[in-house]
């Protein structure tokens, strides 16, 4: 099972919007609405930001939005803020009983 493909880095200025892509296959991202996004600041455990493709857990800012088209899921951050600078990982269910999860390669978001 190959990792989902994400851009290595994305940057933007405060107040701008950025979008991070997460490309899988018809066996994972394309088949299930079970993509999650995680934010990880340095030396801190990952935090769930988006689940089931578009849903936000309680307490997560509505500046974070998830979407999907075909085999590609996306995370958009609106109104970029300095505290958004972090690594972001997507994850998808694969439907496999022996390998049910795959993570993305990770994207470093830099706020200029």
């Amino acid at each position: 099972q190959s990792a989902l493909a994400q851009p290595a880095s994305v940057s933007g200025s405060p107040g701008q919007s950025i979008t991070i892509s997460c490309t899988g296959t018809s066996n994972d991202v394309g088949s299930y609405n079970l993509v999650s996004w995680y934010q990880q600041h340095p030396d801190i455990a990952p935090k769930l930001m988006i689940y089931e493709g578009t849903k936000r857990p309680s307490g997560v800012s509505n500046r974070f939005s998830g979407s999907k088209s075909g085999n590609t899921a996306s995370l958009t951050i609106f109104g970029l803020q300095t505290e958004d600078e972090a690594d972001y990982y997507c994850s998808s269910y694969t439907g496999s009983s022996t390998f049910p999860y795959v993570f993305g390669t990770g994207t470093k978001v830099t706020v200029l």
């Binding site: 099972q1 990792a3 299930y32 079970l34 999650s36 995680y38 455990a45 990952p46 935090k47 769930l48 689940y51 089931e52 857990p57 990982y89 994850s91 269910y93 009983s97 022996t98 390998f99 049910p100 999860y101 795959v102 993570f103 993305g104 390669t105 990770g106």
Partner: protein, 119 residues
């Protein structure tokens, strides 16, 4: 409040054994899955496996099958990740995370356990 608290960092030599823990609180430990995730230095997240503490049903990533053992003790709300013979390449941060169902998100994470293996 859901909490997963992991055991402290470990420094080991190659060939040694190790068992790290993850204790859950604030929710029904037996009826939620626990996953283990590896993060090697400067690298991304890798799913290692999951366990259902209620009946110890366990699934391993093929990449980790035979390399580690995942177990749980529901009586004390703890899950474990263990190695019988560590290698230098096992040096990483290991996270436990909760999920409600297979396919669901990892909605709560432990703080991570740093394992360093060096001669």
């Amino acid at each position: 409040e859901v909490q997963l608290v992991q055991s402290g960092g470990e420094v080991k030599k190659p060939g040694e054994s190790l068992k790290i823990s993850c204790k859950g609180s604030g929710y029904s430990f037996s009826t939620n899955w626990i996953a283990w995730v590896r993060q090697m230095p400067g690298r991304g997240l890798e799913w290692m496996g999951v366990i259902y503490p209620g009946n110890s049903d366990t699934t391993y990533s093929p990449s980790f099958q035979g390399q580690v053992t995942i177990s749980a003790d529901k009586s004390i709300s703890a899950a474990y990740l263990q190695w019988s013979s560590l290698k230098a390449s096992d040096s990483a941060i290991y996270y436990c995370a909760r999920l409600n169902f297979i396919g669901g998100p990892f909605d709560s994470w432990g703080q991570g356990t740093l394992v360093s293996v060096s001669s």
